[in-house]
């Protein structure tokens, strides 16, 4: 039994009190005396040369302080990219300039050209309408294959190509993979698109910057998942502000899903303009602006080939992907289709030979970067789709085919350079089949058939990699950052604790979960522990929250710092009781001399640390505050089996999800309720991608799904009640809590399970449909059924 509020218990989320009562403090809730408002004039064409900007009339309009263009940013750095990929031929990737405001050319609809700053937002907007931009249209580069042809127009002329990089992984395997596929008993081939998505966090982005003339100090309030990373990137690479003069605060943040990892031009603009105007400058994104300025996700076009022997053993896997970078490189964009994608292509299987080729391409679209799962959903989707297709082609049950190829011995080194520490894939598969009543499916399918409906069941088994690390390895892979995490545990004199973490909570419930960890280790009520995050002035240098890393990396840092606290506290307790520190045990918030009934309370020790009258001053310093930086030895590898049961209406193509079952292995779980909520959220986003979300451009580069009138977000009524289980736990072997991470799993495993289920339903209905590209909207399902008529019985 977990302790009350301790590790394994499910106390309610303490942060929800303020979120649900409207007392959260988001960036837009912060207003600074004398602030002015920025309004961005953005390109309404995908590609063009800026022939002229006439802002004279606009500048004279009421309330306008100044209108900024690229000219004001001469000598200022561009928006940097945080990861460098090396191509197959050994050359480093093509890295275009990314000016704060478009300089000479616009490269996507939404590219910022000018900014009006005025006393009120309405005045800024009025004046923005009077800014006359003269753009000579250039042909839009939209299709990735066309972009790579020799005569294609160029997004960035100075690079001479639209190719960012051509990455091969593992290049040494290439020939062996080609040979194995050429000679295999059976090869299953699948071509697919992983659809482009818009993150759509509930809170749009905000930037509010002020400059303190007396101290020459800047403060930026921004909707970020990682304020220290923004401080480093913007301070060092864009504006040249030393870190001790720049404070970045990311207060309550209403969801990010990856899109708030990155450093954006609007943050740099507001910080720059605050000094230029000597007034605080605020920008708040509208929802429409978010569609064309927040980094998008996914957008891969892939061909995958799986070679099998006559018994269904996987022999080799080859994938070729075109990955859309958009018009510029967003902060971590190059790493997503490469190190976060290629390394996962083994999945849960013993496939001995794997080769992954990724060509990253520039197009006249919004930059693409990490979105919940980031590379791992793209890997899992193609793999779990091709495995399902292979099972159908070879007449092997899809569960059985997966089982024949499961990795069963750990640690397991994959041919794509990673080593899984633990896992039990048969256990999660067993759990899934039991919880979803897989055995009863045929009867349910028959019941559907009697109603004229087509029922299908789809499975996906995923592998995820969280807490990407260690830093020295990711440095070799091209990262321009470390990937450790930090924590400072500050024990106050009366025993309460303030924990300053480099992780950042924007929906994950860290304030509850992390307090459970620290409270449990010391044996005190977690209500005594406060978690402080999101402010570079208050927290140690940390890397923030993304990639399901926070419990595995941030939580581990917290454990290490708390261990230091406990070690020191034991020395103080030993002194107070005149005993040896080696005999001191800490249990339920009391220090006891082992084998005796003599003890002192946690509060006695903490008070002694700060009022050191009776204290071993010659041996240890007063005070009780420790910091730890934790750099993991390896990724963590959550895995799980997902099952989806759907019904297709053959008359309309509409798919209804009847049930969804998730059997996850997240290792140890701190707060099962929060974990379940994270899985629910991930599943909703996975279903969104698979069923309805579709970021679409037309051939001219206009974003045609630019609002909720055309971009479909999933709603509760679109989803079934989920059955979620995380009891098949194989704890991580290399972090102190044995945890793996749970934030992205749902978004990774659900799209292939759903698509597999729809294909199963159509096949059972006699339609020879082998693939439909996501999202599987009713019209796409119906069209596929028309193209592939009903087989003769």
């Amino acid at each position: 039994m977990p302790k009350d509020g301790g590790i394994g218990d499910s106390p309610k989320r303490r942060e929800d009190v303020r979120f649900l009562t409207g007392t959260g403090r988001y960036s837009d809730d912060i207003n600074i005396y004398n602030q002015v408002y920025a309004y961005f004039v953005r390109s309404d064409v995908a590609h063009g040369r800026i022939a002229g900007i006439d802002a004279e009339a606009a500048a004279a309009m009421p309330g306008v302080l100044r209108i900024f263009t690229a000219r004001d940013f001469e000598g200022v750095g561009g928006i940097p990219c945080g990861w460098q990929i090396t191509s197959r031929d050994g050359s480093v990737m093509n890295e275009p300039k990314h000016p704060v405001l478009a300089d000479g050319k616009v490269r996507h609809v939404g590219d910022p050209i000018a900014v009006v700053v005025a006393e009120t937002l309405a005045q800024a907007r009025d004046a923005a309408e009077a800014v006359v931009i003269d753009i000579e249209d250039l042909p839009a580069i939209m299709d990735m294959r066309a972009a790579l042809t020799p005569d294609a127009p160029l997004v960035h002329e100075d690079m001479g190509t639209n190719l960012c990089y051509d990455w091969g992984f593992v290049e040494d395997n290439r020939q062996a993979v080609d040979d194995a596929i050429a000679h295999a008993h059976h090869v299953t081939t699948l071509e697919l698109r992983n659809n482009r998505l818009v993150a759509n966090p509930m809170e749009p982005r905000v930037a509010l910057a002020e400059w303190n003339a007396a101290a020459d100090e800047y403060t930026l309030y921004t909707t970020s998942q990682n304020p220290h990373v923004i401080r480093l990137l913007m301070g060092a690479f864009v504006l040249g502000i030393p870190e001790h003069k720049l404070r970045v605060v990311a207060p309550d943040v209403g969801g990010g899903f990856g899109s708030k990892i990155f450093h954006y031009a609007e943050e740099a603009f507001c910080t720059f303009a605050a000094k230029a105007l000597r007034r605080p400058v605020k920008w708040v994104s509208s929802r429409s602006e978010a569609f064309m300025s927040d980094a998008h996700g996914r957008d891969h076009v892939t061909k995958i080939e799986l070679a099998l022997d006559e018994n269904g053993k996987f022999l080799a896997l080859r994938t070729e992907t075109l990955a859309n970078m958009g018009a510029y490189l967003s902060t971590f964009a190059p790493s997503i289709p490469t190190w976060l994608h290629g390394t996962l292509m083994a999945g849960n299987y013993t496939t001995p030979l794997i080769y992954v080729n990724v060509k990253a391409v520039f197009t006249n679209t919004v930059p693409v970067d990490a979105y919940r799962g980031a590379g791992r959903p793209e890997a899992t989707y193609q793999l779990e789709r091709v495995v399902d297709k292979a099972a159908r082609e070879m007449g092997i049950d899809p569960v059985d085919l997966r089982r024949r190829n499961f990795i069963t011995e750990f640690p397991y080194a994959t041919p794509v350079a990673v080593e899984y520490d633990t896992g039990d894939y048969h256990a999660t598969m067993d759990k899934l089949l039991a919880l979803s009543d897989h055995a009863g499916f045929e009867a349910r399918a028959e019941e559907s058939r009697r109603r004229g409906m087509l029922r299908g069941f789809g499975i996906a088994h995923y592998i995820e990699a969280c807490g990407i690390a260690p830093s020295n390895l990711v440095g070799q892979l091209g990262a321009r950052a470390g990937l450790y995490e930090s924590a400072t545990v500050r024990v106050n004199a009366t025993g309460s604790i303030s924990v300053m973490t480099g992780s950042h909570s924007h929906g994950q419930g860290h304030e509850t979960t992390f307090a459970q960890v620290v409270g449990d280790m010391i044996g005190i009520d977690p209500a005594q522990v406060d978690i402080i995050h999101g402010d570079t002035a208050r927290t140690p240098m940390g890397m923030g929250t993304y990639g399901s890393r926070s419990i595995a990396v941030g939580g581990s840092a917290m454990v290490r710092a708390t261990e230091k606290i406990i070690a020191k506290a034991k020395k103080i307790a030993a002194h107070l009781m005149e005993a040896s520190e080696h005999d001191i045990e800490l249990k339920d918030g009391r220090f006891t001399i082992a084998g005796t009934d003599r003890s002192v309370a946690w509060g006695d020790v903490t008070l002694a640390a700060y009022v050191p009258h009776n204290y071993p001053l010659e041996e240890i310093e007063p005070g009780l505050e420790e910091t730890a930086f934790y750099d993991p030895a390896n990724f963590t590898y959550p895995s799980g089996a997902y099952g989806c049961e759907v019904e297709v209406d053959p008359q309309t193509g509409k798919v209804t999800v009847l049930s969804f079952t998730a059997a996850d292995d997240f290792g140890n779980v701190i707060n099962p309720m929060i974990v379940e909520g994270q899985v629910h959220g991930g599943l909703a986003q996975g279903f969104g991608q698979a069923m309805m979300e579709n970021c679409a451009y037309d051939a001219d580069g206009q974003l045609i799904s630019a609002s909720y009138m055309d971009y479909a977000m999933p709603r509760a009524a679109d989803l079934p009640m989920f059955t979620v289980d995380s009891t098949c736990a194989t704890p991580c072997t290399h972090n102190p809590l044995g945890v793996k991470g749970c934030g992205e799993a749902g978004a990774i495993g659900s799209p292939p399970a759903f698509v597999n289920a729809v294909i199963d339903a159509l096949q059972r209905g006699g339609h020879d449909v082998t693939h439909i590209d996501m999202p599987l909207t009713p019209d796409r399902v119906w069209e596929a059924m028309q193209e592939r008529g009903v087989r003769d019985a």
Binding site: R125, D126, M692, Y708, T777, D779
Partner: protein, 262 residues
């Protein structure tokens, strides 16, 4: 949103007078107009709210006619028409979401004539009469294409009179993003014959499916529609469906409506 003046007349004649001022625009729920103003696609100088004219807010069964005031919200129709004309109440109850239904009005919807709106199908299939401040217009004459109606500048929909059919049904297939009809059919069985109106599908806005009406008038049964199909020519094709898909859905929704009636 640009600045504008706002007036709130209490009578139809005051509203007509207010609408005669330059750049005046009627506001009747504002579920289309206000978003358009917020993104500055519409910028009227004067907004004339029709929501506070008591004579335009009512739902009243009058023999075999249901009369609905032009400024009556969808929510009120959903509540108060349920006894006299349940199919129409059901249509109103499924427009948008609760917030939209609490503000949006029948007159606003008809005057806007969005090709994907629900009400035009109900009005056309019911063979309703649109009563304005100056005349009465039959449904067949009122809808004149996408966002186009017989209304003149400044003309106000004061009331809509629905002949109550013997039976009727509205079947809607939603567009997944907007949740407007991707294609929907309103089938009404009148003593004089069947009427079938399709919304969401056509580039010309709501339309009657005459072939289906003829077939159903002679035999009101699903089988009567066998072999009949809406021509894909002239149907909308967009991100959410091809013209062939919409034409197909028109048939499916019509059949489902008939099946629900018989």
């Amino acid at each position: 949103m640009h600045d504008f003046d706002f007036v709130r007349p209490q009578t139809v004649s005051d509203a007509v007078r207010a609408l005669a001022t330059p750049d005046a625009q009627a506001l009747s729920g504002g579920q289309t107009l206000l978003p358009a103003m917020k993104v500055r696609l519409a910028a009227p100088a004067v907004l004339v709210s029709l929501m506070h004219i008591p004579d335009m807010v009512f739902v009243r069964a009058d023999g075999d006619v249901l009369r609905v005031g032009g400024a009556t919200t969808h929510a009120q129709v959903a509540r108060e028409a349920a006894g006299a004309y349940p199919a129409l109440a059901s249509l109103a109850a499924r427009i948008g979401d609760p917030a939209v239904r609490s503000r949006g009005t029948i007159g606003g919807s008809l005057a806007n004539n969005d090709p994907s709106a629900c009400y035009p199908a109900g009005v056309l299939a019911s063979n309703a009469t649109i009563v304005t401040d100056r005349r009465e217009i039959g449904a067949d004459d009122f809808f004149q294409g996408m966002f186009t109606t017989a209304l003149e500048e400044g003309e106000i929909v004061v009331e809509v009179r629905f002949p109550i059919p013997d039976a009727a049904r509205y079947e809607k297939f939603i567009q997944p993003a907007s949740r407007f009809p991707l294609t929907a059919a309103f089938v009404a069985r009148h003593s004089g014959g069947a009427r079938v109106a399709i919304t969401g599908a056509s580039e010309s806005g709501v339309f009657r499916w005459h072939e289906a009406e003829v077939a159903l008038t002679s035999d009101f049964a699903v089988q009567a529609l066998d072999g009949l199909a809406v021509d894909a020519d002239g149907m909308i094709a967009d991100l959410h469906g091809s013209s062939a898909y919409r034409a197909h859905l028109a048939g499916v929704m019509t059949r489902r409506a008939v099946a629900a009636i018989v």
